[in-house]
């Protein structure tokens, strides 16, 4: 090859760089964490739509609690599970803004189930991003409502038994039944193609907010390599084999 790498690395040949909405802070997430990819997609969508100064985010409790350090938009920090309640307040007080809540499964589907369901049922105008890795990642890999049947977690070391631990909760299917949601989808970020689809879904969720017709809900099936005790590549493979049959990807509702 006659072309030198220095000749390729020029501004006119640039095809992908870090979004300007992301701050320079190094993310605290474990190597290979899906949170980083979703943060990046959120930042890219906000940058491409040119709504950086018009977006208000609601940060959750969980691993992504420090999301306000990583995306340069306005943020509010909610109490555990209460992001949709805070998002309701913000979207009602500032209807000219885009409101986005970002929550994990322990936050959205366990302690915040009531807030989630009622905010979606009322049809509050906000984008809800739901990261589902089937585990409480931050506190040490405990069983979450979304933990799969037979899946091991630190509080169910022999696998989840529905007889004693109950059944896994498909909260995305539940909110899809509610009249207040206008777009409900489930995506993943395990491959480049899936990342492109997830970005399209997040973009569509934000575009839907211009119509002011209800809540847009994007679930991202994710990995937790530390909580699952696997390396990031094995986690992605495990997710494809075990999570996708129970949490099938695709749009669930689009009105």
């Amino acid at each position: 090859m006659s072309v030198l790498i220095e000749d390729i690395k020029k501004a006119e040949n640039l095809v992908h760089k870090k979004s300007s909405v992301l701050t320079d802070k190094v993310m605290h997430y474990c190597p290979g964490c899906s949170h980083g990819v979703v943060h990046k997609l959120l930042a890219e969508v906000i940058e491409e739509m040119g709504i950086q100064d018009k977006t208000i985010g609601v940060a959750p409790v969980g691993c992504s609690v420090f999301i306000y350090n990583y995306l340069a938009i306005d943020w509010q920090e909610a109490a555990h599970g209460r992001a949709p309640a805070l998002g309701t307040a913000i979207s009602r007080l500032r209807p000219d803004r885009f409101v986005v809540t970002y929550q994990g499964d322990g936050d959205l589907a366990a302690i915040g189930t009531a807030e989630t369901i009622h905010a979606c049922n009322r049809g509050e105008n906000m984008v809800m991003i739901f990261i589902n890795n089937g585990i409480y990642g931050m506190t040490g890999g405990q069983m979450a409502p979304t933990t799969l049947e037979g899946m091991k977690a630190s509080t169910c070391p022999f696998g989840r038994d529905p007889q004693t631990d109950g059944n896994p909760l498909k909260i995305t299917e539940i909110v899809a039944q509610l009249p207040g949601t206008n777009f409900v989808t489930r995506q993943a970020v395990h491959s480049a193609a899936a990342v492109r689809r997830t970005k399209k879904a997040i973009r569509k969720a934000f575009e839907k907010q211009k119509e002011k017709t209800g809540t847009s809900f994007v679930e991202v099936v994710s990995t937790c390599s530390s909580g699952w005790k696997m390396n990031p590549v094995d986690s992605n493979n495990w997710m494809e084999e075990n999570m996708f049959p129970f949490y099938p990807l695709g749009d669930i509702k689009d009105v």
Partner: protein, 77 residues
């Protein structure tokens, strides 16, 4: 015939060596270095730069947004 050639630049200090980019690369350009960065991670680097076509798959799956991708069209004789 025209051909796309690419190159990536990895922010070594931000890279956590998760190796998701190594898996995502369709032309096996990327590998993890034997050396470590300041945080002790084996960072990603272009082990086989001639094969890169600038597809951006590595940058898409990178959780830490530490990959910048360049792509250039060259006329082949």
């Amino acid at each position: 015939m025209a051909k796309m050639i690419g190159a990536i630049e990895v922010d070594i200090e931000t890279c956590k060596g998760c190796s998701l980019c190594v898996e995502a690369c369709p032309t096996s350009v990327i590998a993890l270095a034997d050396e470590v960065n300041g945080k002790g991670y084996n960072y990603a680097f272009m082990a086989n730069p001639d094969a890169c076509n600038g597809c951006t798959n590595c940058a898409l799956v990178c959780p830490d947004s530490c990959i910048t991708v360049y792509r250039k069209k060259v006329e082949m004789a």
